[in-house]
């Protein structure tokens, strides 16, 4: 066993009938790893997994523990590799225990009965997947999630060093998803090789050490979640726009889909709208307005600000500045130029301290009729004031001077286009 890889595939092709679904994939998987295979629907993820398990024929090099997978006897393969399918038909009312005991067939002669040790192993697998109390239940009475855990328990009871999972958590609720995936992580930590197909990219990023991204049966990326889950790759492979960041609670790569349809609401397109925000107050608003196809821009934003990340993700122009430092005069001048050029200015109420006070004060030079202030329901200007009163006064002065004030995004939309009738309003809501 000189080869350090459990599974080694080189130039692997596989498919159904004459059509190749998996094309020329080369990758290898060592012990103690948990790899996620991701890609859009029909990209060949499951086909690749089934090629690994020899469920479908493949061409090219495919080695399991240094030996060609095709040279394994069925029983040897059943002891080396476990497979959890997405679902399985249940034509007969076997008990859960009967189904899990099938995992031990590969290790038992057909002329011998299963041993107490086999029963012990299966009971342990039931406990590991949290379904001990279901042991005597008919499989036909189980929910989809319970049945999925039975299939996982059966694969565990096979005691294999390689485990292939085809969307193992697709039917599971939140708590059971994390239970099962933590179990897989622990198995990997104790030396197993785990490969799973995932639809939920965040789940894959959270639990896998490595992600392999597939498109049209070919590998397009292979690396850590942070390396693979970039907005560019996601756009190329899935055709979807996302923002990625590092999740504060887990420290793992995290992504959110965003929608930037510019085709709708074209009657608003001529409108040049500047959003002045900060401290995350404008993120939701920018996203909301981006879906309306306005000509949007954002003002001065610190590069650590969530609003900045949102503007970046939505490709909304803004003026980035260093955080926690005084805003340079020339950046303020830029903002003033933007204020002058904007048809409407939306001021999203945001925390104002000594640092960003000049940004707010610059609004006093703008015609108040062009200003819309967004103050969320139940909030006061004073709660955004970190300047001992100056900022709150500045906000209130703008209101007093005639700037429109609203607490909802729809209110902003109505103010942007006063003659927006009900029909169009309805239409724009649908596009969101």
């Amino acid at each position: 066993m000189s080869d350090p890889n459990r599974i080694n595939a080189e130039n692997l092709h596989a498919g159904y009938d004459t059509q190749a679904i998996v094309k020329s994939i080369s990758c290898s998987f060592g012990p103690g790893t948990f790899t996620g295979i991701i890609g859009p629907n029909g990209s060949g993820k499951t086909t690749l997994l089934r090629a690994f398990s020899r469920a479908i024929p493949s061409s090219g090099i495919l080695e399991l523990d240094g030996k060609d997978v095709r040279d394994y006897t069925p029983a040897e393969l059943g002891m080396a590799l476990g497979f959890v399918p997405q679902d399985e038909p249940r034509p007969f009312a076997y008990t859960v225990m009967q189904v899990v005991l099938m995992a031990r067939y590969a290790r038992t002669s057909r002329f011998a009965a299963l041993l107490p040790a086999d029963y012990d192993r299966c009971h342990r697998a039931l406990a590991e997947t949290g379904i001990t109390d279901l042991a005597a239940r008919s499989i036909r009475t189980l929910s989809g999630g319970e049945w999925q855990r039975v299939l996982i328990a059966r694969a565990l009871a096979q005691d294999t060093s390689v485990l292939l999972l085809d969307e193992p958590t697709s039917h599971l609720d939140l708590a059971h998803q994390s239970d099962i995936l933590m179990l897989m992580r622990n198995l990997a930590a104790s030396g197993a090789t785990i490969i799973g197909v995932f639809h939920d990219l965040n789940l894959a990023a959270l639990y896998c050490d490595r992600l392999i991204m597939i498109k049209n049966g070919q590998m397009v990326a292979d690396g850590t979640p942070a390396q693979v889950l970039t907005p560019e790759k996601i756009r190329n492979v899935y055709g979807a726009d996302v923002v990625t960041s590092c999740h504060p609670a887990t420290g793992r790569t995290f992504l959110m889909p965003v929608k930037t349809t510019n085709g709708n609401g074209s009657h608003l397109k001529s409108l040049n709208v500047l959003v002045v925000s900060g401290g995350g107050s404008g993120a939701g608003l920018l996203h909301f307005l981006a879906g309306r196809g306005l000509s949007l821009s954002a003002g001065i934003l610190a590069t650590t600000d969530t609003d900045y990340l949102t503007a970046q993700a939505l490709e909304i122009p803004c003026i980035p500045v260093l955080p926690f430092s005084q805003i340079p005069a020339h950046e303020l001048e830029k903002q003033k130029a933007m204020l002058a050029g904007a048809d409407r200015v939306i001021l999203s109420a945001h925390p104002v301290g000594a640092g960003n006070l000049p940004v707010l004060l610059a609004l006093h030079d703008v015609d108040p009729a062009r200003i819309i202030i967004h103050l969320p329901e139940g909030r006061e200007f004073t709660s955004y004031d970190f300047t001992k009163g100056t900022a709150a006064t500045a906000y209130q002065d703008l209101c007093a001077a005639g700037a429109a004030c609203t607490s909802t995004y729809d209110g902003i939309l109505r103010l942007l286009l006063p003659n927006l009738n009900g029909d169009e309003n309805h239409e724009t809501r649908n596009t969101n």
Binding site: S53, A75, E76, P85
Partner: protein, 315 residues
């Protein structure tokens, strides 16, 4: 699992008692002790072979039915599903119409085996075959053969009732050699299927699942189909196409003993035998030897309807 050994033991004892009891029951009377002239001849050379043949045929049909249901992942499958019975019927009808009833068992056997071979060849023409393809091919071939049988019935003239009686199945001509022949098929094929019990369990969840569990799915399918074909072709050549035993017995057994085919298969051997021996004894004693297929269907159909009704509620 704890009930398995006692229930199997009970089934064995009941099977032996049924065979003994039914050998001494019949229209000619005769108790256990009889001094009437000819009694020994009737019991020994007519009833005993007939009872034994009924037992072995019933066992063959039931065990093949259980195996087919698991293989096709379909509780409604029966041993005739791939066209064995219509193939057998065609062979028998040909012998009845053109050979005046000579060699009916041989022709029935050949027809049954040829039907399966045709189904297999058509379904596997493109290499990999799925059980669904096999099933649909079997149904198509079955209908085609049945059409020819119907045609033969239409032109059979005075032989019509012979064909119809064969189609319903019975043991009128069962001889000692029939009993021995069916036992010779049942023992090896039954043992084969018994030791394939775990393969059947895994196959009933899908061939891919079976392969992932370390089962040689292709070989298991071959063995199950081969063993079942031998059993059913033998049964059909001896007794015609007796219905419902092969369909219903596995369900009765599963209700008593659970779904594990390692238990269902051996239990079906005894249960199928018992059911057919009792049905045959009923018909020859009380129903002036009507085709036993009528009795099995008459009892079996309402039972099966009740089973479907139950299933709708239970699962």
């Amino acid at each position: 699992m704890t009930r398995t050994i006692p229930v199997l033991t009970c089934l064995t004892i009941v099977a032996i008692l049924t065979i003994i009891l039914c050998t001494f029951i019949g229209p000619a009377g005769f108790g256990f002790i009889s001094t009437a002239p000819g009694a020994a001849d009737i019991v020994g050379s007519i009833r005993l072979p007939r009872v034994l043949a009924a037992f072995f045929v019933g066992a063959s049909l039931a065990v093949a039915g259980a195996a087919m249901q698991a293989l096709f992942r379909n509780p409604m499958a029966d041993p005739y599903i791939l066209g064995i019975s219509s193939g057998g019927a065609l062979g028998a009808s040909v012998a009845i119409v053109f050979l005046g009833g000579l060699f009916v068992p041989v022709f029935a056997w050949a027809g049954a085996v040829i039907a399966i071979l045709i189904v297999w060849l058509i379904a596997s023409r493109r290499g990999v075959i799925s059980v669904e393809t096999l099933l649909l091919t079997g149904i198509a071939v079955s209908f085609f053969f049945s059409a020819i049988v119907s045609f033969l019935i239409a032109i059979a003239g005075e032989n019509v009732h012979q064909i119809i009686f064969w189609l319903m199945g019975g043991f009128w001509n069962a001889s000692a050699s029939d009993a021995i022949l069916s036992a010779c098929i049942l023992v090896p094929a039954g043992l084969l299927l018994f030791f394939m019990g775990r393969d059947l369990n895994a196959l009933s969840l899908g061939e891919e699942t079976a392969a992932h569990l370390g089962i040689d799915a292709a070989r298991a399918r071959w063995s199950v189909l081969g063993g079942s074909t031998l059993l059913v072709a033998g049964a059909v050549s001896i007794a015609g196409s007796i219905g419902f035993v092969g369909l219903v017995t596995p369900h009765i057994v599963r209700m008593l003993l659970g779904q594990d085919n390692r238990v269902v298969i051996p239990a079906c051997i005894f249960a199928g035998g018992i059911l057919l021996v009792i049905s045959d004894t009923l018909t020859r004693t009380f129903f002036s030897d009507l085709p036993v297929g009528i009795i099995t269907a008459f009892i079996g159909a309402p039972f099966f309807i009740w089973l479907i009704y139950q299933r709708g509620n239970v699962t």
